[in-house]
Protein backbone atom coordinates (compact mmCIF):
# COMPACT_ATOMS: atom_id res chain seq x y z
CA UNK A 1 0.00 0.00 0.00
CA UNK A 2 2.13 2.85 -1.27
CA UNK A 3 1.45 6.54 -0.77
CA UNK A 4 0.50 6.84 -4.42
CA UNK A 5 -2.18 4.19 -3.99
CA UNK A 6 -3.64 6.02 -1.00
CA UNK A 7 -3.78 9.18 -3.12
CA UNK A 8 -5.55 7.17 -5.83
CA UNK A 9 -8.10 5.88 -3.35
CA UNK A 10 -8.72 9.43 -2.13
CA UNK A 11 -9.12 10.66 -5.70
CA UNK A 12 -11.56 7.86 -6.56
CA UNK A 13 -13.64 8.55 -3.44
CA UNK A 14 -13.69 12.28 -4.28
CA UNK A 15 -14.85 11.64 -7.85
CA UNK A 16 -17.59 9.26 -6.72
CA UNK A 17 -18.71 11.80 -4.13
CA UNK A 18 -18.89 14.59 -6.72
CA UNK A 19 -20.74 12.33 -9.18
CA UNK A 20 -23.23 11.29 -6.52
CA UNK A 21 -23.70 14.93 -5.62
CA UNK A 22 -24.42 15.81 -9.26
CA UNK A 23 -27.12 13.15 -9.37
CA UNK A 24 -28.67 14.07 -6.03
CA UNK A 25 -28.52 17.86 -5.86
CA UNK A 26 -31.73 19.74 -6.59
CA UNK A 27 -30.42 22.86 -8.28
CA UNK A 28 -29.44 22.35 -11.92
CA UNK A 29 -26.95 25.22 -11.73
CA UNK A 30 -25.16 23.46 -8.89
CA UNK A 31 -25.15 20.24 -10.92
CA UNK A 32 -23.48 21.99 -13.86
CA UNK A 33 -20.80 23.49 -11.64
CA UNK A 34 -20.32 20.07 -10.08
CA UNK A 35 -19.90 18.67 -13.57
CA UNK A 36 -17.03 21.09 -14.27
CA UNK A 37 -15.38 19.96 -11.03
CA UNK A 38 -15.97 16.35 -12.05
CA UNK A 39 -14.20 16.93 -15.37
CA UNK A 40 -11.17 18.47 -13.67
CA UNK A 41 -10.90 15.62 -11.15
CA UNK A 42 -11.22 13.16 -14.03
CA UNK A 43 -8.26 14.77 -15.75
CA UNK A 44 -6.24 14.19 -12.56
CA UNK A 45 -7.23 10.52 -12.81
CA UNK A 46 -5.99 10.46 -16.38
CA UNK A 47 -2.62 11.74 -15.21
CA UNK A 48 -2.51 8.90 -12.67
CA UNK A 49 -3.28 6.45 -15.47
CA UNK A 50 -0.33 7.77 -17.51
CA UNK A 51 -2.57 9.14 -20.24
CA UNK A 52 -1.37 12.75 -20.40
CA UNK A 53 -2.91 13.44 -23.81
CA UNK A 54 -6.30 12.38 -22.51
CA UNK A 55 -5.79 14.50 -19.37
CA UNK A 56 -5.19 17.59 -21.50
CA UNK A 57 -8.21 16.84 -23.70
CA UNK A 58 -10.49 16.11 -20.75
CA UNK A 59 -9.54 19.32 -18.94
CA UNK A 60 -9.84 21.42 -22.08
CA UNK A 61 -12.84 19.96 -23.93
CA UNK A 62 -14.53 17.60 -21.49
CA UNK A 63 -14.60 20.03 -18.60
CA UNK A 64 -13.86 23.47 -20.04
CA UNK A 65 -15.75 23.78 -23.31
CA UNK A 66 -18.60 21.49 -22.19
CA UNK A 67 -18.88 23.55 -19.00
CA UNK A 68 -19.11 26.75 -21.01
CA UNK A 69 -21.77 25.15 -23.22
CA UNK A 70 -23.87 24.01 -20.26
CA UNK A 71 -23.57 27.38 -18.49
CA UNK A 72 -24.69 29.16 -21.64
CA UNK A 73 -27.67 26.82 -21.82
CA UNK A 74 -28.67 27.48 -18.22
CA UNK A 75 -29.14 31.14 -18.99
CA UNK A 76 -31.58 30.32 -21.78
CA UNK A 77 -33.95 27.79 -20.30
CA UNK A 78 -35.95 27.63 -17.14
CA UNK A 79 -34.45 25.17 -14.72
CA UNK A 80 -37.63 24.59 -12.80
CA UNK A 81 -38.88 21.06 -13.20
CA UNK A 82 -42.24 21.37 -14.83
CA UNK A 83 -42.70 17.63 -15.11
CA UNK A 84 -43.44 15.54 -12.09
CA UNK A 85 -40.43 13.79 -10.75
CA UNK A 86 -40.48 10.03 -11.29
CA UNK A 87 -42.29 8.07 -8.63
CA UNK A 88 -40.53 6.02 -5.98
CA UNK A 89 -41.03 2.54 -7.40
CA UNK A 90 -39.73 3.56 -10.81
CA UNK A 91 -36.65 5.04 -9.24
CA UNK A 92 -36.11 1.88 -7.24
CA UNK A 93 -36.31 -0.31 -10.29
CA UNK A 94 -34.03 2.02 -12.26
CA UNK A 95 -31.59 2.06 -9.36
CA UNK A 96 -31.49 -1.73 -9.21
CA UNK A 97 -31.00 -1.90 -12.96
CA UNK A 98 -28.11 0.59 -12.86
CA UNK A 99 -26.55 -1.19 -9.90
CA UNK A 100 -26.74 -4.44 -11.83
CA UNK A 101 -24.99 -2.86 -14.82
CA UNK A 102 -22.30 -1.37 -12.58
CA UNK A 103 -21.77 -4.74 -10.95
CA UNK A 104 -21.47 -6.45 -14.32
CA UNK A 105 -18.85 -3.97 -15.54
CA UNK A 106 -16.99 -4.19 -12.23
CA UNK A 107 -16.81 -7.97 -12.61
CA UNK A 108 -15.46 -7.51 -16.12
CA UNK A 109 -12.79 -5.13 -14.79
CA UNK A 110 -11.73 -7.62 -12.16
CA UNK A 111 -11.72 -10.47 -14.65
CA UNK A 112 -9.70 -8.69 -17.33
CA UNK A 113 -7.21 -11.07 -18.91
CA UNK A 114 -3.70 -11.20 -17.50
CA UNK A 115 -1.29 -10.64 -19.31
CA UNK A 116 -3.25 -7.80 -20.86
CA UNK A 117 -3.49 -7.79 -24.65
CA UNK A 118 -1.91 -4.71 -26.08
CA UNK A 119 -1.09 -3.05 -29.35
CA UNK A 120 1.79 -1.01 -27.93
CA UNK A 121 4.56 -3.07 -29.57
CA UNK A 122 2.96 -2.78 -33.01
CA UNK A 123 2.32 0.92 -32.47
CA UNK A 124 5.89 1.61 -31.44
CA UNK A 125 7.29 -0.54 -34.23
CA UNK A 126 5.62 1.68 -36.81
CA UNK A 127 6.81 4.96 -35.28
CA UNK A 128 10.11 5.35 -37.17
CA UNK A 129 8.28 5.12 -40.49
CA UNK A 130 5.80 7.79 -39.42
CA UNK A 131 8.48 10.05 -37.99
CA UNK A 132 6.70 11.16 -34.81
CA UNK A 133 7.69 10.30 -31.27
CA UNK A 134 4.30 10.40 -29.52
CA UNK A 135 2.50 7.12 -30.19
CA UNK A 136 -0.94 8.60 -29.50
CA UNK A 137 -0.38 11.22 -32.21
CA UNK A 138 0.78 8.46 -34.52
CA UNK A 139 -2.41 6.50 -33.85
CA UNK A 140 -4.61 9.57 -34.32
CA UNK A 141 -2.98 10.90 -37.45
CA UNK A 142 -1.31 7.95 -39.14
CA UNK A 143 -2.63 4.54 -38.15
CA UNK A 144 -6.25 5.62 -37.62
CA UNK A 145 -6.21 8.84 -39.59
CA UNK A 146 -9.48 7.88 -41.21
CA UNK A 147 -11.23 7.96 -37.82
CA UNK A 148 -9.88 11.45 -37.15
CA UNK A 149 -11.09 12.55 -40.57
CA UNK A 150 -14.56 11.21 -39.81
CA UNK A 151 -14.46 12.96 -36.44
CA UNK A 152 -13.97 16.30 -38.19
CA UNK A 153 -17.00 15.51 -40.32
CA UNK A 154 -19.02 14.62 -37.20
CA UNK A 155 -18.15 17.99 -35.66
CA UNK A 156 -19.29 19.85 -38.77
CA UNK A 157 -22.46 17.74 -38.94
CA UNK A 158 -23.28 18.58 -35.30
CA UNK A 159 -22.78 22.26 -36.13
CA UNK A 160 -25.06 22.05 -39.16
CA UNK A 161 -27.65 20.31 -36.98
CA UNK A 162 -27.28 23.08 -34.40
CA UNK A 163 -27.70 25.82 -36.99
CA UNK A 164 -30.71 24.17 -38.54
CA UNK A 165 -32.53 24.61 -35.23
CA UNK A 166 -32.68 28.35 -35.74
CA UNK A 167 -35.99 29.95 -36.59
CA UNK A 168 -36.45 30.42 -40.33
CA UNK A 169 -36.21 34.19 -40.08
CA UNK A 170 -32.87 33.91 -38.24
CA UNK A 171 -31.08 31.73 -40.79
CA UNK A 172 -27.73 33.20 -41.72
CA UNK A 173 -27.70 35.50 -38.72
CA UNK A 174 -25.43 35.83 -35.73
CA UNK A 175 -25.47 33.61 -32.68
CA UNK A 176 -25.36 35.32 -29.32
CA UNK A 177 -22.77 34.11 -26.85
CA UNK A 178 -23.19 36.24 -23.79
CA UNK A 179 -24.22 39.81 -23.33
CA UNK A 180 -22.13 41.31 -20.61
CA UNK A 181 -21.65 44.93 -19.65
CA UNK A 182 -18.14 45.48 -18.34
CA UNK A 183 -18.03 48.89 -16.66
CA UNK A 184 -14.66 48.39 -14.97
CA UNK A 185 -13.00 46.97 -18.04
CA UNK A 186 -11.67 44.00 -16.10
CA UNK A 187 -12.84 41.43 -18.61
CA UNK A 188 -11.50 43.56 -21.42
CA UNK A 189 -8.11 43.69 -19.72
CA UNK A 190 -8.08 39.92 -19.37
CA UNK A 191 -9.11 39.51 -23.01
CA UNK A 192 -6.27 41.76 -24.09
CA UNK A 193 -3.64 40.02 -21.97
CA UNK A 194 -4.51 36.35 -22.15
CA UNK A 195 -5.08 35.55 -25.86
CA UNK A 196 -1.50 36.20 -27.02
CA UNK A 197 -0.25 33.83 -24.32
CA UNK A 198 -3.02 31.37 -25.11
CA UNK A 199 -2.28 31.34 -28.82
CA UNK A 200 1.40 30.80 -28.06
CA UNK A 201 0.59 27.89 -25.77
CA UNK A 202 -1.73 26.43 -28.41
CA UNK A 203 0.95 26.60 -31.11
CA UNK A 204 3.41 25.03 -28.70
CA UNK A 205 1.01 22.21 -27.83
CA UNK A 206 0.36 21.57 -31.52
CA UNK A 207 4.04 21.53 -32.41
CA UNK A 208 5.22 19.48 -29.48
CA UNK A 209 2.34 17.03 -29.88
CA UNK A 210 4.44 15.17 -32.42
CA UNK A 211 6.90 13.95 -29.82
CA UNK A 212 5.46 14.78 -26.39
CA UNK A 213 1.95 14.73 -24.96
CA UNK A 214 -0.12 17.35 -26.72
CA UNK A 215 -1.65 17.56 -30.12
CA UNK A 216 -4.23 19.14 -32.32
CA UNK A 217 -7.38 18.79 -30.17
CA UNK A 218 -5.87 20.32 -27.08
CA UNK A 219 -4.45 23.20 -29.12
CA UNK A 220 -7.80 23.79 -30.79
CA UNK A 221 -9.59 23.86 -27.43
CA UNK A 222 -7.14 26.52 -26.25
CA UNK A 223 -7.68 28.58 -29.42
CA UNK A 224 -11.44 28.23 -29.01
CA UNK A 225 -11.23 29.45 -25.41
CA UNK A 226 -9.18 32.48 -26.41
CA UNK A 227 -11.58 33.37 -29.20
CA UNK A 228 -14.59 32.97 -26.90
CA UNK A 229 -12.90 35.22 -24.33
CA UNK A 230 -12.38 37.94 -26.95
CA UNK A 231 -15.99 37.69 -28.10
CA UNK A 232 -17.46 37.79 -24.58
CA UNK A 233 -15.29 40.79 -23.65
CA UNK A 234 -16.46 42.60 -26.72
CA UNK A 235 -13.13 42.84 -28.48
CA UNK A 236 -14.22 40.77 -31.49
CA UNK A 237 -17.59 40.35 -33.07
CA UNK A 238 -19.27 37.01 -33.38
CA UNK A 239 -19.28 36.23 -37.10
CA UNK A 240 -22.47 35.74 -39.03
CA UNK A 241 -23.24 32.13 -39.81
CA UNK A 242 -23.42 32.86 -43.53
CA UNK A 243 -19.99 34.49 -43.45
CA UNK A 244 -17.95 32.93 -46.25
CA UNK A 245 -14.67 33.01 -44.39
CA UNK A 246 -16.23 31.30 -41.37
CA UNK A 247 -17.75 28.56 -43.50
CA UNK A 248 -14.47 28.08 -45.36
CA UNK A 249 -12.61 27.77 -42.07
CA UNK A 250 -15.11 25.26 -40.72
CA UNK A 251 -14.77 22.87 -43.65
CA UNK A 252 -11.05 23.37 -44.16
CA UNK A 253 -10.16 20.69 -41.61
CA UNK A 254 -12.09 17.88 -43.22
CA UNK A 255 -11.16 19.14 -46.68
CA UNK A 256 -7.44 19.11 -45.92
CA UNK A 257 -7.80 15.52 -44.78
CA UNK A 258 -9.71 14.61 -47.91
CA UNK A 259 -7.10 16.28 -50.10
CA UNK A 260 -4.33 14.44 -48.30
CA UNK A 261 -6.26 11.21 -48.63
CA UNK A 262 -6.69 11.46 -52.36
CA UNK A 263 -3.11 12.64 -52.76
CA UNK A 264 -2.15 9.44 -51.00
CA UNK A 265 -3.29 7.55 -54.06
CA UNK A 266 -0.63 9.25 -56.11
CA UNK A 267 2.31 9.50 -53.78
CA UNK A 268 2.05 6.43 -51.60
CA UNK A 269 -0.34 3.97 -53.14
CA UNK A 270 -3.63 4.11 -51.26
CA UNK A 271 -6.11 6.47 -49.62
CA UNK A 272 -4.61 8.46 -46.73
CA UNK A 273 -1.24 6.73 -46.97
CA UNK A 274 1.91 8.68 -46.24
CA UNK A 275 5.24 8.37 -48.06
CA UNK A 276 7.86 7.40 -45.45
CA UNK A 277 10.15 10.40 -45.86
CA UNK A 278 7.53 13.14 -45.78
CA UNK A 279 5.15 11.59 -43.27
CA UNK A 280 5.85 13.98 -40.41
CA UNK A 281 5.74 17.04 -42.67
CA UNK A 282 2.40 15.94 -44.10
CA UNK A 283 1.02 15.22 -40.64
CA UNK A 284 1.95 18.68 -39.39
CA UNK A 285 0.65 20.21 -42.61
CA UNK A 286 -2.77 18.62 -42.13
CA UNK A 287 -2.83 19.36 -38.39
CA UNK A 288 -2.71 23.11 -38.88
CA UNK A 289 -6.00 23.58 -40.80
CA UNK A 290 -7.50 20.85 -38.64
CA UNK A 291 -6.71 22.74 -35.43
CA UNK A 292 -8.11 26.03 -36.73
CA UNK A 293 -11.23 24.35 -38.09
CA UNK A 294 -11.92 22.44 -34.86
CA UNK A 295 -11.37 25.63 -32.82
CA UNK A 296 -13.90 27.52 -34.96
CA UNK A 297 -16.35 24.60 -34.73
CA UNK A 298 -16.04 24.44 -30.95
CA UNK A 299 -16.79 28.16 -30.59
CA UNK A 300 -19.78 28.00 -32.96
CA UNK A 301 -21.11 24.91 -31.18
CA UNK A 302 -21.01 26.71 -27.83
CA UNK A 303 -22.61 29.80 -29.38
CA UNK A 304 -25.49 27.77 -30.75
CA UNK A 305 -27.99 28.52 -33.47
CA UNK A 306 -28.19 32.03 -34.93
CA UNK A 307 -30.47 34.28 -32.96
CA UNK A 308 -30.72 37.54 -34.81
CA UNK A 309 -29.97 39.39 -37.95
CA UNK A 310 -31.04 36.70 -40.35
CA UNK A 311 -31.33 37.26 -44.05
CA UNK A 312 -34.94 37.73 -44.94
Amino acid sequence: MTVAFIVDVGLAILILFVAGWIVAVRSTFAAVIGFVVYGLLLSLVWVRLWAIDIALTEAAIGSGVTGALLLRTLSRISTVDTAQSANKSFRLIAGLFCAFISLAIALVIIALPEPAPTLAPEASAGLPAVGVGNPVTAVLLAYRAFDTFLEKVVLVLALVGCWSLAADRDWGGTPVLWRYSDPDGVLKFLAQTLPPIGVLVAIYMLWTGADNPGGAFQASAMLAAMWMLSIVAGLTRMPRTNDDRLRLTLVSGASAFLLLGFAGFGIAGSFLAYPPDYAKALIVAVEIPMTIAVAATLVMLVAGPPQRGGVS
Binding site: A4, F5, V9, A12, L16, A19, I22, V23, T28, A31, V32, F35, Y38, L42, V45, L49, A51, D53, I54, T57, E58, G62, T66, L69, L70, T73, R76, I77, S78, T79, T82, A83, Q84, S85, A86, N87, F90, G95, C98, I101, S102, A106, I109, A116, T118, L119, A120, A123, A125, V136, A138, V139, V154, G161, L165, G215, F217, L301, V302, G304
Partner: protein
Protein backbone atom coordinates in the same frame (compact mmCIF):
# COMPACT_ATOMS: atom_id res chain seq x y z
CA UNK B 1 -5.41 -4.33 -6.39
CA UNK B 2 -3.52 -1.98 -8.65
CA UNK B 3 -4.50 1.63 -9.17
CA UNK B 4 -5.72 0.73 -12.66
CA UNK B 5 -8.23 -1.77 -11.27
CA UNK B 6 -9.29 0.77 -8.62
CA UNK B 7 -10.07 3.37 -11.27
CA UNK B 8 -11.81 0.73 -13.35
CA UNK B 9 -14.19 0.00 -10.48
CA UNK B 10 -14.65 3.74 -10.03
CA UNK B 11 -15.56 3.95 -13.71
CA UNK B 12 -18.09 1.13 -13.31
CA UNK B 13 -19.82 3.01 -10.50
CA UNK B 14 -19.77 6.21 -12.55
CA UNK B 15 -21.51 4.35 -15.37
CA UNK B 16 -24.22 3.27 -12.97
CA UNK B 17 -24.66 6.78 -11.55
CA UNK B 18 -24.80 8.41 -14.99
CA UNK B 19 -27.27 5.83 -16.26
CA UNK B 20 -29.47 6.39 -13.22
CA UNK B 21 -29.60 10.13 -13.76
CA UNK B 22 -30.21 9.62 -17.48
CA UNK B 23 -33.17 7.35 -16.80
CA UNK B 24 -34.88 8.92 -13.82
CA UNK B 25 -34.38 12.67 -13.87
CA UNK B 26 -37.21 14.39 -15.77
CA UNK B 27 -35.36 17.58 -16.64
CA UNK B 28 -33.64 17.24 -20.07
CA UNK B 29 -30.53 19.15 -19.06
CA UNK B 30 -30.01 16.78 -16.12
CA UNK B 31 -30.38 13.89 -18.52
CA UNK B 32 -27.62 15.40 -20.66
CA UNK B 33 -25.47 15.72 -17.53
CA UNK B 34 -26.14 12.06 -16.76
CA UNK B 35 -25.15 11.15 -20.30
CA UNK B 36 -21.85 12.96 -19.81
CA UNK B 37 -21.27 11.23 -16.47
CA UNK B 38 -21.91 7.92 -18.21
CA UNK B 39 -19.47 8.89 -20.95
CA UNK B 40 -16.79 9.75 -18.40
CA UNK B 41 -17.21 6.34 -16.79
CA UNK B 42 -16.95 4.53 -20.11
CA UNK B 43 -13.82 6.49 -21.03
CA UNK B 44 -12.35 5.61 -17.66
CA UNK B 45 -12.91 1.89 -18.34
CA UNK B 46 -11.22 2.31 -21.74
CA UNK B 47 -8.35 4.14 -20.07
CA UNK B 48 -7.90 1.29 -17.62
CA UNK B 49 -7.66 -1.13 -20.53
CA UNK B 50 -5.03 1.20 -22.03
CA UNK B 51 -3.09 1.34 -18.76
CA UNK B 52 -3.02 -2.41 -18.44
CA UNK B 53 -1.62 -2.64 -21.93
CA UNK B 54 1.63 -0.99 -20.93
CA UNK B 55 4.39 -2.56 -23.00
CA UNK B 56 7.27 -1.79 -25.33
CA UNK B 57 8.59 0.94 -23.06
CA UNK B 58 5.33 2.89 -22.85
CA UNK B 59 3.17 3.31 -19.80
CA UNK B 60 -0.03 2.71 -21.69
CA UNK B 61 -1.39 1.23 -24.86
CA UNK B 62 -1.77 4.20 -27.24
CA UNK B 63 -4.67 2.84 -29.30
CA UNK B 64 -7.39 2.95 -26.59
CA UNK B 65 -6.02 6.35 -25.54
CA UNK B 66 -6.55 7.71 -29.05
CA UNK B 67 -10.06 6.20 -29.03
CA UNK B 68 -10.84 8.04 -25.78
CA UNK B 69 -9.60 11.36 -27.17
CA UNK B 70 -11.83 10.93 -30.21
CA UNK B 71 -14.67 9.90 -27.89
CA UNK B 72 -14.35 13.03 -25.75
CA UNK B 73 -14.61 15.30 -28.78
CA UNK B 74 -17.56 13.38 -30.26
CA UNK B 75 -19.32 13.35 -26.87
CA UNK B 76 -18.95 17.12 -26.76
CA UNK B 77 -20.50 17.54 -30.19
CA UNK B 78 -23.38 15.23 -29.23
CA UNK B 79 -23.90 17.28 -26.04
CA UNK B 80 -23.89 20.50 -28.07
CA UNK B 81 -26.56 19.21 -30.44
CA UNK B 82 -28.67 17.85 -27.56
CA UNK B 83 -28.39 21.16 -25.73
CA UNK B 84 -29.42 23.09 -28.85
CA UNK B 85 -32.48 20.84 -29.12
CA UNK B 86 -33.40 21.49 -25.47
CA UNK B 87 -33.01 25.26 -25.90
CA UNK B 88 -35.16 25.20 -29.03
CA UNK B 89 -37.78 23.12 -27.23
CA UNK B 90 -37.83 25.66 -24.42
CA UNK B 91 -38.18 28.55 -26.88
CA UNK B 92 -40.94 26.94 -28.89
CA UNK B 93 -43.05 25.44 -26.13
CA UNK B 94 -42.17 27.75 -23.25
CA UNK B 95 -41.37 24.92 -20.88
CA UNK B 96 -38.59 22.40 -20.50
CA UNK B 97 -40.08 18.98 -20.28
CA UNK B 98 -40.10 15.83 -22.33
CA UNK B 99 -43.64 14.87 -21.43
CA UNK B 100 -46.57 16.15 -23.45
CA UNK B 101 -48.85 18.74 -21.89
CA UNK B 102 -51.84 16.52 -21.34
CA UNK B 103 -50.06 13.91 -19.26
CA UNK B 104 -48.87 16.40 -16.65
CA UNK B 105 -51.47 16.07 -13.94
CA UNK B 106 -50.60 16.84 -10.34
CA UNK B 107 -51.47 13.51 -8.82
CA UNK B 108 -49.54 11.31 -6.47
CA UNK B 109 -47.87 8.88 -8.84
CA UNK B 110 -46.69 11.47 -11.30
CA UNK B 111 -45.67 11.03 -14.92
CA UNK B 112 -42.07 10.18 -15.48
CA UNK B 113 -39.95 12.21 -17.85
Amino acid sequence: MTSATLFGLCGAILIGLGLFELITDPHPLRKILGFNLLGGGVFLVLGVVARRGAAAGYFGDPVPQALVITGIVVAFSATALAVALVVRLSEVSGRVSLTSQSSEQPHSDGAEG
